[in-house]
Amino acid sequence: MSELETHHGEEPHIVSPKIYVLIAATLLICTALTVAASYLELGPWNAVVALGIAVFKATLVVLFFMHIKYSSKLMKLTVFAGLFTFLALVGMSMSDYISRAWGSF
C-alpha cells in the first residue's frame, strides 16, 4: 500500500478566491500609490520608487496569481532561473555600455 501512496501524492493546491480578491485589491492600491508618488518631486528617487512598486506588484502576481508560492521547488527554481538570466544579461549589457568610453577621457 505504501508503494501506491507514493504514486498518488498530494491533492493539487487550489488557491481560494479570498486570496485573489486580497491580491487584486493590493495591486490596485499599489497602482494608486505609484501614480501618487509620480506627482511628488523626488528627483532620481521617482524612478526608484516607481520601479520598486512595480517589482513588488510583479512579485505578488507571480507568487499568488501564478501560484508559484504553492508550487514545487522545480517551478520556483525555473522562475528564479529566468529572473537570474534576465538580470545577468541586462547587467552585462549595462557594464559594456558604461565602460565603453573608459580611457578616452
Binding site: A24, K57, V61, G82
Partner: protein
C-alpha cells in the same frame, strides 16, 4: 517487476497520457513547459526594456519630453483594467479547478470585455499620437518639441534644440514597439479566450482536464506583468524632469 500486484493499475482520469506516472506529474510537466515559454518571453521583452534603458540615458531630454505627451489618466485606467482582468482570469482558473462551468464562462467573458476595454483605450492613445504627428515615420514631426504649444492649465514645456527634438522619434519608436508587442500579446490572448469560451460552453472542461486554462492563466498574468513595468517606465518616471 515480475509480480503484478493487485490494484497496481489504480484509478486515473481518461485524459492522463500513458507516459505519465500520475496526474501530478502530467500537470507539473505542462506548467514547466509553459514557464519555459514564459522565460523566452522575458528575454524577448527584456531586450526592448534594455534598449529603452540605454536610449533613455543617451537622449534623456528627448525621452522626458516624449513621456510628457502621454496621458497619465488613460495609462492609469488601463493599468487598473488589466489588473482587474488578471483577477477575473484567476477566478476563471479557480472556477475550472472547482468545476463550476457557469463561473468559468462568466470569468472568461469578463476577461474578454476587460481585454477589449484595454485595447480600446490603447487605440484612443494611438490615435492621439497619430493626430499629433508623433508616430515614427514619414508623418513624424519633431517641431512640436522645438516650439511646444501651451496646453490649457499646464505650464509651458521648455523647447528642445532641434537635434535633441529629433531624438524623440526614438522614444516613440520604443513606445510603439513595446506597447505594440504588448497589445499583440493581448490580441493573441483574446483569440485563445474565445476558443476557451466556446469549449467551456460545450462542457469540455467539466471533467477536470483544465491544463489549457491553467497555462493560459499563466500567459495572461505574464502579459499583465509586462504592463506593470511598461506603465511606470513610459508614463511615470519622467514626470518631473
Amino acid at each position: 517487476m515480475a509480480v503484478v500486484h493487485e490494484g497496481e493499475h489504480h484509478e486515473h482520469p481518461a485524459y492522463q497520457r500513458h507516459h505519465f506516472v500520475s496526474m501530478e506529474q502530467q500537470k507539473e510537466s505542462a506548467s514547466f513547459g509553459m514557464w519555459l515559454f514564459l522565460l523566452t518571453e522575458i528575454m524577448f521583452f527584456g531586450g526592448m526594456f534594455t534598449a529603452y534603458l540605454i536610449y533613455r540615458n543617451w537622449y534623456y531630454p528627448a525621452f522626458v519630453a516624449g513621456s510628457h505627451t502621454l496621458s497619465i489618466v488613460l495609462g492609469t485606467t488601463n493599468t487598473a483594467v488589466l489588473i482587474t482582468s488578471s483577477f477575473t482570469m484567476a477566478m476563471g482558473v479557480w472556477c475550472a479547478e472547482t468545476r463550476k462551468r457557469g463561473g468559468l464562462i462568466l470569468s472568461i467573458i469578463l476577461t474578454l470585455i476587460l481585454g477589449l476595454a484595454f485595447l480600446g483605450i490603447k487605440s484612443v492613445e494611438y490615435h492621439e499620437k497619430w493626430v499629433q504627428h508623433h508616430v515614427p515615420g514619414l508623418r513624424f514631426d519633431a517641431m512640436t518639441f522645438v516650439h511646444p504649444k501651451a496646453e490649457p492649465g499646464q505650464p509651458v514645456e521648455p523647447g528642445l534644440p532641434l537635434d535633441m527634438a529629433q531624438h524623440t522619434e526614438i522614444y516613440f519608436s520604443l513606445y510603439f514597439a513595446m506597447t505594440g508587442m504588448h497589445a499583440l500579446h493581448m490580441i493573441i490572448g483574446m483569440g485563445l479566450l474565445v476558443f476557451m469560451l466556446v469549449k467551456a460552453m460545450r462542457g469540455a472542461y467539466d471533467n477536470g482536464n483544465i491544463a489549457f486554462i491553467e497555462n493560459f492563466g499563466l500567459y495572461w498574468h505574464f502579459v499583465d506583468i509586462v504592463w506593470i513595468f511598461l506603465f511606470p517606465l513610459l508614463y511615470l518616471i519622467s514626470r518631473h524632469q
